[in-house]
């Protein structure tokens, strides 16, 4: 009984370490291929369009409402201390340091990350990845590298968009709806945000872009090893990709914040 339990724990641990090793090697292979000529311009542009441009409206919509909620909650909390004028600073700092990068990464995971995992997963179970190998095309370079580069380009830009739109959302609820002086709001925004805050936010965004793309592409690429074959395998790997990406976004958020503070 005891030996069986130990064997089970050992088995799980070995699988976990193997999976981590495979994930790391997968990332390294994709990363190295980003520097090998010829640069895959067309595929990078296609993926930037898909990951970045096509996420525009989702990000704007999420950012507006996030900013408005922050404005609303912040106003009533600050009003208790008679500090409504600091609303702009509260909204801007929250968006730049935390919510902007985190929510953007989560929205990109939901919209583009899931699609990456599903598309690559389908390619795996229908032998399209094997077909690439038989055509002497490096599948990691072909499938993962352009997505990795496109995410690194897109996510910080989407984060910037999220922050700007979020601040405008806060302005909408704080100044237009609740009557805070418009000058005070914008002045607080400008005065409160330092370049270190912006650098910190974008550092997070850069790390999240690597984390999300690596996990989602890895899950799709190794669908057959972790989730099985067929439609069920693809659906499981897509779900795992989204869940694990979100968890790792929050874990890395904590780690980066710990070092930045």
């Amino acid at each position: 009984m005891f030996t069986a339990s130990l064997e089970k724990i050992g088995g799980i641990t070995i699988r976990l370490f193997k999976s981590c090793g495979r994930l790391f090697l997968f990332f390294i292979r994709g990363f190295i291929n980003a520097f090998i000529l010829p640069i895959q311009f067309n595929k990078i542009i296609d993926q930037t369009w898909f990951i970045g441009a096509k996420s525009f409206f989702v990000i704007v919509l999420t950012a507006v409402f996030t900013g408005m909620v922050l404005g609303l909650q912040g106003y009533y909390s600050l009003a208790k201390f008679g500090s409504e004028a600091g609303l702009g600073a509260a909204v801007a700092m929250t968006l730049v340091r935390e919510l902007g990068p985190v929510l953007t990464a989560i929205m990109v995971t939901a919209r583009a990350g899931s699609a990456m995992a599903a598309e690559i997963g389908v390619m795996r179970v229908s032998e399209q990845i094997d077909a690439l190998k038989t055509m002497h095309i490096n599948p990691v370079r072909f499938l993962f590298t352009p997505r990795l580069i496109a995410s690194v380009i897109s996510l910080p830009l989407l984060t910037a968009l999220f922050i700007v739109v979020g601040i405008l959302g806060g302005y909408l609820s704080g100044s237009i709806l609740l009557g805070i002086n418009q000058y005070d709001y914008m002045d607080a925004v400008i005065k409160s945000v330092d370049i270190e805050d912006i650098n910190g936010g974008f550092s997070k965004s850069f790390v999240f872009s690597v984390v999300v793309t690596t996990i989602c592409c890895y899950r799709g690429y190794y669908t057959h090893l972790s989730s099985g074959f067929g439609a069920r395998g693809v659906s499981l790997s897509t779900t795992n990709a989204v869940v694990q990406s979100c968890i790792f976004i929050l874990i890395f958020d904590y780690i980066i914040t710990f070092f930045l503070v």
């Binding site: 032998e127 190998k133 038989t134």
Partner: protein
């Protein structure tokens, strides 16, 4: 007789606890069509995937032009693999690409030729395989027979020296099956490539192959010409040729 191009020596392969290949000895000769026949699930596709390097053996050897693969340099292995082409059982076409893009992919990605030459080459294959008018369509918009032809075009577009066909006629009606077999034979004679075909299509496959090998119970039970197959006294071979499962078991 010339030395075999590819040779399997006591090749073994297992998946978890299931031993699929139990010691394969097989020779494939240059510029010939070799058919690997046998019941479903006997490991024919597994054997074929060893040639192109998608699967690696647990033990035994694969010899290329008489040299064991494990002794060849990486460059030599790559050079040999570049001469290979593979046609998958379920075609493995890229469903988000058009037919033209599917066929052109190996040429575009490997930068074999300039853009215009690639276009000419792809269009030649599209014409020869009767796919005109389909080049802008997606695989999902084609019939099973047309998809097979696209897969065949993609396998041949790089002018390979060895083409591996994994059940190229699965899911086709008898007329289309015959067409695909005729097409393989014609192309093989025209371009003089070495073909290895995994198939169940008796007697069609016997008519186009110079050499036939029968895989059963994890080993090659028989190897020879069409006449050797027909003259064979082996119960297993005779039962398979006549499609009699029960007799094969005896």
């Amino acid at each position: 007789m010339t030395a075999p191009l590819i040779q399997f020596v006591n090749l073994k392969k297992s998946f978890e606890t299931q031993e699929v290949l139990k010691g394969i000895h097989l020779s494939i000769y240059s510029k010939e069509i070799t058919a690997i026949i046998g019941k479903s699930g006997t490991g024919k596709s597994v054997l074929l995937k060893h040639i192109i390097g998608l699967i690696h053996p647990d033990s035994g050897e694969i010899l290329i032009n008489g040299e064991p693969v494990h002794l060849l340099s990486r460059g030599k292995i790559k050079a040999f693999q570049k001469e290979l082409s593979y046609m998958f059982q379920d075609n493995a076409l890229f469903d988000s690409m058009t037919i033209y893009e599917n066929i052109a992919l190996p040429l575009v990605e490997n930068k074999y030729y300039k853009k215009n030459k690639i276009r000419d080459k792809v269009m030649d294959h599209i014409k020869e395989l009767g796919l005109m008018g389909s080049e802008k369509k997606f695989p999902a918009q084609l019939s099973g027979g047309m998809k097979k032809r696209v897969a065949l075009a993609r396998a041949l577009v790089t002018d390979p020296k060895v083409v591996l066909f994994d059940e190229p006629t699965t899911g086709l009606d008898p007329i289309r099956k015959k067409n695909v077999h005729t097409m393989i034979k014609e192309y093989q004679e025209k371009f003089e490539f070495t073909a290895v075909i995994v198939s169940h299509d008796i007697p069609d496959i016997l008519n186009i192959s110079q050499r036939i090998a029968m895989l059963d119970e994890g080993i090659i039970q028989f190897e020879g010409s069409k006449q050797d197959v027909l003259d064979s006294q082996s119960t297993i071979v005779n039962a398979f040729i006549r499609g009699e499962e029960a007799l094969a078991k005896k």
